[in-house]
Homo-oligomer: 340 residues x 2
DNA sequence: CCACCCCGTGAGAGCGCTCTCTGCGGCAGC
DNA sequence: GCTGCCGCAGAGAGCGCTCTCACGGGGTGG
């Protein structure tokens, strides 16, 4: 505001300056700022006035240095970056996380465990940069987490498949959701029900397939019509193609993701199969893809944003030493639209 | 590793400890860590060995406190959170940013300017929490940036519409891209070319419409077939419906986003109009939507991830006082697929 | 052969905050 | 009336790092 690089931030007011203005000691101002134990109400007011007058904002670095806490949590995103980001699922989870944290004093940082080597990620996490981590790494495989989660609060999105016994996580009830979807198909009178399942190295893939199987078993029906995809539209199309190539009749289809359903749609269309007339389709994920399809996809809705929010909530509780349930499960619901 | 909360990070090694082990002073270790001015090579080696032996990682907070820099930049995301996240555009931009920053010493934090009040955002930015900000706020309207960008390096995604004279930004060449798309339609012999344009309060909406207009004007054709959407599939469908309701013939269509094209597709289908037979369609954005449509969308590809990366690059340069061009423009290319 | 540099190094003063510990009143208890 | 507390405030010691400054020693020039 005066000298300094023109336009560069003026020297920020410090605790010291607030203390001087309010006529108290630094310690007292600190107490007020952290609204800790009783401070004389009158002095507290004076301090608050001074803070307002100076437009004081505590310096995060100094606070963190002194308190040995960072007030920051990080979101660790998986190896396969590009896929991650274009998946609406991740986007919504992030939204939920950011939304929850915005209400707290915590700051959200993001790291991609791909770009940085695994080791770099580990160093970042253990290097005192953050108070906790949120992991949205879908795939199992990497067990680098075992070493980290012992030393730092970590919350996973989805049930971790490997090791990680005792780890905290939030998951969607994939299996019941998939079963409900399949039951819907059954209630529509479909009996030749196929599924396009997700990758079998992640819970969402495994559990949704299991739900489909259970529903079919319950009805005493054949559950051999399975093809797998990786949740992308292209893989959904390929799986659909394989399903049709089998030659067995199909009048109902449960697809483990809306994106794969989009792929399946185009193949069904090219085979002149009508939805839902010839094949009734139910998907999973209630995202843009689901709504944009024609006919709009009847699908299993799950609270993705909520998942992110609950993860963040759990992590903060963990960091602050509050009691937390180790596992949180989020229910699903069926959204009826045109495809089944 | 010893006492302390079981499993909690052992007391991290400090500069001091490294110095002791290497038999040099703190200052020297600091020099090595920051690979600054000549340090005796032999000592440097000793220091590096000590660092490795102790698995030392500099404490970010302490460094930031002492150097008055935070080594962190923040990504400010717009008000309308949910829309932001499900838009593949944002996802890719973020990916680009995170990818670039992963190669640097900078950390990425995210704040949602919605959840937090504008004032809270401002305080965060000016409160010495970050060295710079990246703004991906699409819409114009909010001029809160004028106050911030004077005091903190800020880089915008896309040309800011309001005030902000002299602000730094990275943008895609929307206008030429749109013109090229329209030219393609012309080269296919189409003459009754309509467009579904984006919101006219953001550059992407404005410029893409302008490009379409210019191409049509160049060919001496009518450019009255315009309807607007907000880049979402639903709005694309609505716009398409309005376009058809006009009754004027349409044999070519330029859609300002792939998502809107998805919406338009479904309406064209329900009117039994074939793509590209009856109506040739060219979109903008080469995302999942574009590829998943049937027929796959011929579209204008633009380097979205690159946009993010360049923004981050520019911001870091700005922060470090290196010379930067104020504006970076990224070219587009046409991706020929089935729809035109 | 001496003055002068310059390079590499260490000492030490902070950066802004937290937190323990001490101190000082005033009130209850004996 | 004296001791013992308790409640609230201030002093002061760091947290781990950066950075300025001064210093020592070897090389160069006069």
């Amino acid at each position: 505001m005066t000298h300094r690089d023109p336009g560069r931030a003026r020297p920020a007011p410090t605790l010291e300056m607030v203390a001087a203005l309010a006529g108290v000691s630094r310690a007292t101002v600190s107490r007020v700022v952290n609204d800790s134990p009783a401070v004389d109400p009158q002095r507290a007011r004076a301090v608050r006035d001074a803070i307002a007058a100076l437009n004081y904002v505590p310096n995060r670095a100094a606070r963190s240095l002194a308190s040995r806490r960072t007030q920051a949590v990080t979101l660790v995103l998986p190896e396969s970056t590009s896929k991650v980001f274009t998946d609406p699922f991740f986007a919504s989870v992030i939204e939920g996380i950011a939304g929850y944290l915005a209400e707290t004093e915590y700051t959200l940082t993001m790291i991609l465990s791909s770009e940085s080597s695994p080791e770099k990620t580990r160093r970042y996490l253990l290097g005192g940069n953050v108070d906790g981590a949120l992991v949205v790494s879908h795939h199992s495989g990497d067990n680098s987490w075992a070493r980290v989660s012992g030393s730092l609060p970590v919350v996973f999105a989805g049930r971790p498949l490997v090791g990680e016994a005792g780890s905290h996580y939030v998951e969607v009830e994939n299996e019941p959701g998939a079963a409900a979807a399949t039951d819907l198909l059954l209630s529509r009178g479909r009996r030749n029900i196929a599924t396009i399942a997700g990758p079998q190295d992640m819970p969402a893939g495994i559990d949704r397939l299991a739900g489909w199987r259970r529903a079919l078993a319950g009805a005493g029906l054949d559950s051999s019509r399975v093809e797998f995809g990786d949740f992308t539209p292209a893989s959904g199309a390929a799986a659909m193609r394989r399903l049709l190539a089998r030659g067995a009749p199909i009048d109902g289809l449960f697809v483990a993701s809306a994106q794969m359903a989009a792929g399946a749609y185009s193949i069904l269309a090219s085979h002149s199969l009508r939805i839902p007339g010839d094949v009734a389709v139910v998907g999973f994920d209630d995202d843009e893809f689901a709504a944009a399809l024609t006919p709009a996809l009847t699908t299993v809705h799950h609270p993705v944003t909520g998942l992110g929010a609950r993860m963040a909530e759990k992590l903060v509780a963990l960091i602050e030493g509050r009691p937390v349930e180790r596992v949180t499960r989020l229910g699903t619901s069926l959204v009826l639209r045109g495809s089944a």
